[in-house]
């Protein structure tokens, strides 16, 4: 099961950060060609990211956030980056399914041209406007390449004519709709960044909240945030033990070719098994990362 608990933004024009992006244990790193790169730096960032991806073996999923294709940079970004086969292209400010479909065509052509397996480059989209929220399901389901939708922060708040609050009321409705759209389309829902890196307390509270809402993970802007998110997504020992028992009972019933799964006399249905598998996936990933347990 592919986890995307943390998707870490890395400015594309910072060579030091590009070199070290892979060492912090993020599930996905997103090399950013968009908002963190000044217009005068767009070329440089594109080529730095291209060369970093060409020369460095990253131990995790690598995404590139391109500029929107309505800007003078979006197509150029795709043209430069697709030949080094990113795992994921992230489109910002997605508003319609047509945005996704257009990029899908470009990626398909690149896959053929460079001999990459068909469909091997995935996509995700960030929704940053009211219009995008209204079209969230269409965007999420616009291409089989789509693996996640995310909610973008500041642009969305500007569009909504509001600002950040401590308990995140302003995002409430959008987050709710995003989750529903992602689940209906069968893809991941990723929450927005929390920019105030030194405010750990509110970051923890927000991450707990979005996990409870059903988000699969969170965008992060600093390596220090990674382990906090991973800790929050880590199941408790009790949950893990329960999940292990559920899976064992399920396997046993498969072996017995019995349609009924029961644990301690209680019937277990498919959603419970699914939840157990999910818990174990998170536990395994956390085990891989528990060396970062105190960060």
């Amino acid at each position: 099961m592919k986890l995307r608990r943390t998707m870490m933004f890395v400015p594309g024009n910072n060579p030091g950060m590009l070199i070290n992006a892979g060492i912090y244990g993020a599930d996905t790193i997103i090399f950013d060609l968009e908002d963190s790169v000044a217009i005068s730096e767009k070329d440089a960032a594109r080529h730095l990211v291209y060369n970093a991806m060409k020369s460095i073996k990253y131990p995790c999923e690598v995404a590139v956030r391109i500029n929107h294709i309505s800007t003078p940079f979006g197509y150029k970004d795709l043209e430069t980056i697709l030949p080094v086969k990113p795992d994921l292209i992230r489109l910002p400010k997605a508003e319609t399914a047509a945005d996704i479909e257009e990029i899908d065509v470009i990626i398909t052509a690149a896959e053929i041209k460079h001999g990459f397996a068909s469909g091997s480059i995935k996509m995700m989209a960030a929704i940053e406007t009211a219009r995008g929220v209204r079209n969230a399901y269409e965007i999420a389901a616009a291409s089989p390449r789509m693996v996640a939708i995310a909610i973008g922060g500041e642009d969305f708040l500007a569009d909504l004519q509001t600002s950040r609050t401590k308990d995140g009321k302003e995002f409430h409705s959008a987050r709710g709709q995003l989750i529903l759209a992602a689940r209906e389309a069968g893809i991941h829902a990723i929450d927005t960044v929390f920019g105030d890196v030194s405010n750990e307390e509110d970051f923890i509270a927000e991450t707990i909240r979005i996990k409870e809402m059903g988000f699969d993970g969170k965008s992060v802007v600093n390596p220090r945030q990674i382990n906090i998110v991973h800790q929050i997504y880590m199941p408790t020992t009790k949950e893990v033990e329960h999940a292990e028992r559920v899976i064992a009972a399920y396997k046993e019933s498969l072996d017995r070719k019995s349609g009924v799964v029961s644990l301690n006399g209680k019937m277990i249905d498919v959603p419970v098994v699914k939840r157990a598998e999910r818990a174990l996936a998170y536990a395994n990933a956390a085990g891989r990362n528990n060396r970062r347990a105190n960060l």
Binding site: I19, P223, N290, R292
Partner: protein
Amino acid sequence: MINAIGREIPENIAGIKNIKPYSGPFAYTPAGRLTGPTIILNKPRSEKVLKSIEQAIDATGLKDGMTISFHHHFRNGDYVLNMVVAAIARKGIRDLTLAPSSLNNINEEIIPYIEQGVITAIETSGARGKLGKLLTNGKMKKTTIIRSHGGRARAIECGELHIDVAFLGAPACDTYGNMNGVEGKSACGSLGYAMVDAAYADKVVAITDHLVPYPLYPVSIPQTQVDYIVPVEAIGDPKGIASGALRISKDPRELLIAQYATTAIEYSGYFNQDYSIQLGSGGASLAAAQFLKEKMKQQGITASFGLGGVTAPFIEMLDEGLIKAIYDVQDFDIPSIQSMKKNANHQEMSASFYANPHNRGPIVNQLDVVILSATEVDVDFNVNVITDSNGVIMGAVGGHQDTAAGAALSIVVAPLLRGRLPMVIDQVHTVCTPGETVDIIVTERGVAVNPRRKDLRDNLREANIPLMDIEELRDIAYEFAGKPDPILVSDEVAAAVEYRDGTLIDVIRKPL
């Protein structure tokens, strides 16, 4: 001749008698007796307070060719060394050996006196900036001798480094020579490095900007060792002496290194009730304090003692009861100085008590775990902390050799890359600490255990840290940064690096 770590040591080095090649951390057995200062008659109510440094220079009988010493507790806020050397120059005295416990950038002021021949030899722990360059470029008449803190204490006590006059900055001093470092506007905390000088120099001059009526207590250096006292306006700049509380780094790479290092400690087999620990003051080792604290709390473990080089995060551990006692040779920030003043569990110690390998027992021999920094390390686990990527002196050996040799587990932390430079390489330019005393190298991309320590490697298997061979770390570094060309050097030996036991572990040759 070739020493035990394969370094070529010349048979003759100008100004160094009785050259012994390094042959292993505990291979050299010393013989002979301790040396000591001259004995004198002191009559009742004799006056020790003098009017000026010049008067003190006269009173001590300082002459051409003698050796003078200083402590470096005031670090980059030190006025004493510069002030005294300037006064000596005015007196027309020449050809002195300068033997401070270390040198800082602020001491660059003495360069003109070196050029004029007032100072013609230096024996110290290290140097930085222009002074480091000058020492590397062979501008001294005699070869510079680099010693660790423990090695310096040893050399003084056995007479290899004979100090004629010690000029010791005293943050507080009474009219009969009792001094401490915790009072006065120039408080620096421990006077640990000065204690050996005070006990063994022929003449001891206290220079103070806080002269108090007799008696001063607590006493760090006693009246029985002090000949003269000179009150001056200021012995240092408080801002350069100690910073505000040293804080934990926010650099994610340093935090990651610190975390690997503390996880290594946790699984090493040494993380037990009443273990002991020393942490450096560098970014990653300071950050390690934070993670160690959490692990100790989680597992209900407390330490029997901590050693240092003391900083605020260490003091927090003492105050929270996680460390029972601190033994302190040097303080880096204000909370540490205040703690030594008020907390009886925070003990001052001398450099000899700390690290001299040839006394009846330095405390490093009781140390379980130390975290040390490095400039570069090599595939034999040798560590360089003194020369930079151009072969120029820019650091100090400090207690590195001593704690690495004494501790049951010595961990060296370093980034794998600094800018475009690889930090794990085939061969370090200058060996300060021999690889056989280094157990683990921790970088942000991997952790290497010395193959001599199979036990450790086994223990760390469960630790979930990226264990790899040191050669793999080197290869990763080279893959990013390329293999550096060796630094081209001449035959001229600018400095000799002593091991703590007085043998020569390496020499620093003048770069071409």
